[in-house]
């Protein structure tokens, strides 16, 4: 399963969600499908995409928030699973693309390549709904159900360690950040 195919499969569902991605390949691939003002790409600060999603979902309980995380990033901030589980916002969907690799920084294998089980860790941390998917159709169904449901869900998507040739997009980090905040403010004014 390719992450790009997964992203393509859920792209329509993301239209009305607040989306936070990790850096590198995940950000570049989502951007390549077509940037939207409700997408925020956290291009550094590995591990904090899930924390950002938690802050957003706690402050905006009526908005669906989707975090597109990765195994390398989540392993840098496993405590985030316990914090998310503690507050378990119903409007947060936490997707973890597990390619068993720090692909964007040279392809070094992560601990999930040697047996670390992120589904098990998330479940034991107390995340109320956790599942692992390995084919695109299951991924699409899992995300759709989680968005329609009312439980904090972590979806581990096992994907190949493949990504785009480059990661820099034509969207400046600062522009993305102000556009994202302005988008959220515009929702409040509706």
């Amino acid at each position: 399963m390719l992450r790009l195919d997964c992203l393509r499969a859920i792209y329509p569902e993301l239209e009305h969600c607040l989306v936070v991605t990790i850096m590198g390949a995940t950000a570049a691939e989502l951007h390549s499908l077509g940037h939207r003002p409700n997408f925020f790409y956290l291009q550094h600060a590995m591990g904090l995409a899930s924390s950002t999603g938690l802050g957003l979902s706690l402050c905006l309980p009526d908005q669906k928030v989707v975090v597109l995380d990765g195994d390398g990033s989540l392993l840098m901030n496993l405590g985030s699973l316990s914090t998310m589980a503690r507050y378990r916002p119903k409007n947060l969907v936490h997707v973890v693309f597990d390619n068993e690799s720090l692909l964007s920084v040279g392809g070094f294998p992560t601990a999930t390549s040697t047996g670390t089980d992120l589904e098990g860790i998330a479940r034991a941390a107390g995340i109320p709904a956790v599942l692992t998917v390995r084919v695109v159709e299951d991924f699409r169904t899992a995300v759709k159900r989680a968005l329609e449901g009312t439980q904090l869900t972590t979806i581990i998507a096992k994907v190949e360690a493949k990504g785009p040739a480059g990661y820099v997009t034509d969207l400046s980090l600062i522009e993305n950040r102000f556009q994202f905040r302005r988008y959220i403010q515009s929702l409040k004014e509706q």
Binding site: L42, L48, S50, S51, L54, G55, L58, C59, S82, Q185
Partner: protein, 170 residues
């Protein structure tokens, strides 16, 4: 425990005056009363963290959502947050109001706190983070208001160091 309840109340009320509606925190001796007040206040969301750096992401999310937030931590928690501050808050111009208990200074009895005290201000200066002290009950409200004003106008992290003189009664 001689943590000052009266000072904690003044700090908490000053935060509420600034419309702080979310506080992230990791328990620390000097912060116990503040944590309890935040927990009991229905207008404030308290997010108890596993590690302080998470608070940078949570405050960024709150900022995007238009909610004013603060971070309560010990100076060692500030040390643990540095990458998040630099590669999120500085990189993306995110305002952070950091209230940092300043352990390891004159009067510190816990040997394990002493190294953090040595480096806290040097690190704040090295990171170009504007900072000031909460060191007297009469100036708490004004300093917190000024700190938040600067954080919001400059879109950057600012720090207030909670001192022994204010937080500890013995």
């Amino acid at each position: 425990m001689p943590v000052s309840l009266s000072s904690s109340k003044v700090i908490f009320n000053a935060l509420k005056q600034c419309d702080i509606r979310l506080l992230s925190a990791l328990p620390e001796t000097w912060l116990v009363h503040l944590l309890r007040m935040a927990d009991e206040d229905p207008d404030v969301t308290l997010v108890r963290l596993a590690k302080e750096e998470e608070g940078v992401g949570i405050s960024a999310g709150a900022h995007f959502a238009g909610v004013k937030s603060g971070m309560l931590m010990q100076n060692h928690g500030f040390l643990a947050s540095i990458n998040g501050i630099v590669s999120f808050a500085h990189l993306y111009k995110i305002p952070l109001l950091m209230l940092i208990s300043y352990r390891g200074t004159f009067g510190e009895r816990d040997p394990w706190q002493t190294q953090g005290g040595n480096v806290t201000e040097a690190l704040l200066r090295g990171m170009s983070i504007p900072y000031s002290f909460l060191d007297g009950i009469d100036t708490v409200e004004k300093r917190i208001r000024q700190a938040q004003t600067l954080a919001e106008s400059s879109l950057q992290p600012v720090a207030l160091l909670l001192t022994r003189d204010l937080m500890w009664e013995e």
